[in-house]
């Protein structure tokens, strides 16, 4: 099952749990499941996060496919100047 | 405000235009003569992006009133190349990557030309001080100074 790695800010929704195993075929599906289990978390992950998957950061990862062994790191959106 | 008729020489051409007494020479060059090479970076003579030559001396066009140009001989960056030949400074700036965004480049070229016209073999320090009135935010000045050094070498070679 894919693993969602949460930043410290996110862990207030999960009672401090940093790594959650969540089923889903895409990052969007994983977020949806996280919202279902921890109301409010999905909102934060949708609007204020990019997702690091396989060493690459994706800014809008809703449709990004993930597999049973994928680690998803929810990180802050990045821009630059 | 009524406009004054100004006649002068710009880049070798005799020109004339109208400008009110409170119009800067920079604005007159750009708006009346279409010579947009000189840029306004600050309007207060602190950045050198509007550098032009007036009778061979470098000046900030933003600090001169347009009617002050009457009877004088002006050079802008548009007058540095002759026909299809770039001035050596223009060539070395290109080869030396002495520009990134390019907004300060006209001012630097004119100021560097004034330097080399007066001092054909400047030291690095002399170059840096002569160009201290021209701000560049992109390059850190390194490649600009090197390009001026290279142009000095080329001009000296051509003079022989």
């Amino acid at each position: 099952m894919p693993r969602a790695h949460l930043m410290t800010d996110h862990r207030r929704f999960t009672d401090g749990e940093a790594v959650i195993e969540v089923d889903g075929a895409t990052v969007g599906a994983v977020i949806g499941e996280l919202e279902r289990r921890f109301p409010g978390l999905g909102e934060v992950l949708t609007h204020a996060s990019s997702a690091g998957v396989d060493g690459e950061i994706h800014a809008e990862p809703e449709y990004l496919e993930v597999g049973p062994d994928t680690d998803i790191y929810f990180v802050a959106p990045l821009a630059g100047g | 405000m009524p406009r004054t008729h100004v006649s002068c020489t710009v880049n070798g051409d005799e020109v004339d235009f109208l400008a009110s007494d409170d119009t800067s020479l920079l604005d007159a060059l750009r708006d009346e003569l279409g010579l947009i090479g000189a840029k306004e970076g600050c309007g207060t003579g602190d950045c050198g992006a509007c550098s032009i030559l007036v009778d061979g001396r470098v000046n900030c066009a933003c600090l001169m009133f347009a009617p002050e140009a009457e009877g004088h001989d002006l050079l802008t960056v548009e007058g540095m190349a002759t026909g299809e030949h770039l001035h050596p400074l223009q060539q070395t700036f290109l080869e030396g990557a002495a520009l990134q965004c390019g907004i300060c480049t006209p001012g630097f070229l004119v100021a560097a030309k004034a330097l080399l016209d007066e001092n054909p073999e400047p030291t690095e320090t002399e170059i840096r001080y002569a160009l201290a009135g021209n701000l560049c935010r992109c390059t850190g000045y390194d490649k600009i100074v090197r390009s001026v050094q290279e142009a000095a070498v080329q001009l000296k070679g051509a003079a022989k």
Partner: protein, 741 residues
């Protein structure tokens, strides 16, 4: 250069230094920047700006102004739609024209369009505004103080549950391990506090645009911007227009560095143009640029590092606060995330963004990272000295490598920090003795770099030349890089290629030139388009050679097949009509896999202890570029970033008076480095190719500004024995610190 497991591949065009295609126009004064564009009948715009740091607008009376000579239109906040507070463009829309409240001294209150600039200025001055003053917050400390008045009633802190509005933009906590236990076990603990002031990107070209709204309601915009698709999007959002009503042509841009990734003018010019029926040109003055665009945030930080006696950095605790202006901003979050250079098994970061009644901050190269690096790299230097370790050796021992975790908890991809440290250790500068009377400082930094969306169209012309069309404004030579990557892929000479930066109607969607993404992501789109063309060229060649297409390969700009003469690209394009029609392809993608770029800087300097003046004697910047497509422009980014950092370190700061007015709103008093302040900036490009890019590119534009402040602070500390913890390290502050010591 540095040895890696995968030595850089030899390229034919990539890595050469051709004269940039747009260079001739730029050295002859022919290139047109936004202020160089004029339209017949145009009006000039002039803003009226708030003289107060925080006030309610009670009334605005434009009646006297409207009847003045030359005035054709005046707009205020009432002339723009009210966006919902949750709309992502809400803050930008309010920032470019105040509605009920002015949030900083310089905040736009009205704008006049008149036939000449002096007329517009005179009319703006005749607008009468009644204000009701509100308490103003000018510093981070004031903002965070218990019971502080609110800077902005609409601001809800992101990422935490809150009862109501506050002065906190963001609160972020990142960490791993057990810091308390690790500090208790450490042999050495050093803790320091730092502060920095607002600084400005200082681009020489003020913001400018000209907007022509036709009677069909369509707007033609020429703008100075790092991203014209963003100009289009933000203008549409601010005005409530369909995107298709707006066309934006990017003018040549005279510097951005992150400060031109947002908008201040275009919707205002558009409304004025709509009302007056004339084109409207607005050019900011330098004073306006400094007072009313986006500086980089101020900061206050506290960093505590624990180490073992043999130099292992085992733990770091840091709290960071960024002063972000009157609107919510991610600076605090990004600052915490930017701490990622060392293994640091135990980490606790607490970072906030604090609102202030000063200009809304914007990106400045690697946003938020310089502030954090100044603090962290300074303390690490103290650790090195306390342990009597060479600063490079200390960092080599702790440097992050692929797989090590960033502060966010994500493993680094392939990175080149160790290679950069080794290249610095091996450099002529570092191996030379420190000059008499001088001292040497070292500092490091990095930036993530981003990917985002890019599109590119490549058209092959009838004679085998090519046009490469992209949507990334060229802020530092990227056109040349696009041409080089296309040349390498297609196998034709770089001067057979014309790189073009096209308007929003002539190329596919492309995100802003920011985050060091252009060479990486737009380059990737160019390469994809070229590769698609090559497949088509092989198909055409197969027809011409009368062979099966799977026997054809593309080598050195020609189709080759066993037993047949090669068919050059030009030969194929000459027969395009006969073999299937025009040869054109588009690449469009959301680029993933942007590779982080690390940098290591070294500085020799001397401090005049009687005047406090610092003289930089020698400066070297090492940076990992992945692959340097055009080395001159990579060096240029490294040098430019270094010098901006030197200015940030030694002289630059916003000085506000007690009313929140900027006292040094000119280049005379906001002192950026000039040529006579500096030596040559030596550069060493390290190449640890980024596996995610066809040519190994890592963005390079931003990292260069991250190391300089600590590099210089560390040198000053070693020169004088005094550690400067407040930026800028200007002469009066150095003197004061030396006297105190």
């Amino acid at each position: 250069m540095t040895a890696t497991e995968n030595p850089p591949t030899k390229y034919k065009y990539i890595g050469t230094r051709p004269i940039r295609h747009d260079g001739y126009d730029k050295v002859t004064g022919k290139a047109r920047f936004a202020a160089d564009k004029d339209l017949p009948g145009q009006l000039r715009g002039s803003f009226l700006r708030s003289p107060h740091a925080h006030a309610r607008i009670v009334s605005i009376d434009t009646s006297a102004a409207l009847i003045m000579a030359g005035v054709k239109a005046i707009v205020t906040g009432a002339d723009f739609p009210t966006l919902d507070v949750k709309n992502p463009s809400h803050d930008i829309a309010v920032n470019l024209m105040a509605r009920d409240v002015v949030y900083y001294n310089g905040h736009a209150v009205a704008c006049v369009a008149a036939t000449t600039k002096p007329e517009a200025d005179a009319a703006a001055a005749a607008i009468v505004v009644e204000y009701e003053l509100l308490p103003a917050i000018l510093t981070i400390d004031e903002s965070l103080a218990e019971g502080a008045p609110l800077v902005n009633d609409n601001n809800m802190t992101k990422f935490v549950e809150s009862d109501g509005p506050s002065n906190l933009a963001t609160v972020t906590e990142l960490g791993r391990g057990d810091v308390d236990e690790a500090f208790a076990a450490a042999d050495l603990v050093i803790e320091r506090e730092f502060d920095t002031a607002d600084v400005h990107q200082g681009y020489i070209e003020p913001h400018a645009c000209i907007v022509d709204v036709g009677l069909d309601g369509r707007a033609d915009i020429w703008a100075s911007s790092q991203g014209h698709f963003k100009v289009r999007a933000l203008t549409a959002a601010t005005l409530g227009w369909d995107t298709a009503r707006i066309k934006v042509t990017p003018a040549e841009i005279g510097g951005g560095f992150g400060g031109k990734t947002t908008i201040y003018l275009e919707p205002v010019a558009a409304r004025l143009s709509e009302i007056s029926g004339r084109p409207v040109k607005i050019v900011m003055s330098r004073d306006e640029v400094l007072r009313a665009t986006g500086p980089a945030p101020s900061s206050k930080s506290r960093v505590k590092i624990g180490a073992t006696n043999d130099g292992e950095l085992t733990v770091m605790e840091a709290s960071l606060a960024y002063g972000v202006g009157p609107f919510g901003d991610m600076a605090g979050l990004v600052g915490a995330m930017s701490i990622a250079s060392y293994k640091m098994p135990n980490l606790k970061l607490h970072s906030v963004g604090a609102l202030t009644n000063t200009p809304k901050t914007a990106a400045y190269r690697a946003p938020s990272a310089p502030h954090a690096a100044f603090a962290v790299e300074s303390v690490i230097d103290d650790v090195a000295q306390a342990l009597d370790m060479d600063p490079i050796d200390l960092r080599l021992k702790n440097a992050a490598v692929e797989g090590d975790l960033t502060a966010m908890g994500m493993p680094h991809p392939k990175i080149g920090f160790i290679e950069c440290l080794e290249a610095m250790a091996d450099s002529d500068h570092y191996k030379s003795p420190v000059p008499e009377g001088a001292a040497r400082g070292l500092g490091t930094g990095f930036w993530f770099n981003i990917g985002e969306q890019s599109s590119a169209t490549v058209n092959l012309n009838e004679d085998g030349t090519a046009t490469v069309i992209t949507g990334s404004p060229d802020i530092g030579g990227s056109r040349a890089s696009m041409a080089l990557m296309a040349a390498e892929t297609l196998g034709i000479d770089v001067y057979k290629i014309t790189p073009v930066v096209a308007d929003t109607e002539s190329v596919g969607f492309t995100d802003v030139t920011e985050g060091s993404r252009a060479t990486f992501a737009t380059g990737m789109a160019v390469v994809h388009a070229c590769r698609e063309l090559i497949e088509e060229l092989k198909t055409r060649a197969a027809k011409m050679m009368e062979v099966e297409v799977d026997t054809v390969s593309w080598v050195d700009g020609a189709a080759v097949s066993d037993g047949k003469d090669p068919v050059s690209l030009a030969a194929i394009t000459a027969k395009a009509k006969r073999t299937g029609g025009p040869l054109t392809a588009t690449g469009s993608l959301t680029a993933a896999g942007a590779g982080p770029s690390f940098a290591v800087h070294c500085c020799d300097l001397a401090v005049d202890e009687e005047t406090g003046q610092v003289t930089i004697l020698r400066y070297t910047a090492v940076q990992d570029a992945g692959t340097a497509i055009h080395p001159s422009y990579v060096e240029g980014q490294m040098q430019g970033g270094s010098v901006q950092g030197i200015g940030w370190a030694l002289n630059e700061e916003y000085i506000f008076d007690t009313d929140g007015a900027l006292e040094n709103a000119s280049f005379l008093d906001y002192r950026v480095p000039v040529a006579s302040d500096l030596p040559m900036i030596e550069t060493i490009i390290v190449e640890v190719p980024n596996p995610s890019h066809p040519y190994g590119v890592r963005g390079v534009g931003e990292t260069g500004i991250v190391p300089p402040m600590a590099t210089i602070a560390n040198a000053i500390q070693r020169a004088t024995g005094t550690r400067m913890t407040s930026l800028p390290m200007s002469p009066p502050k150095i003197l004061a610190a030396l006297n105190e010591a």
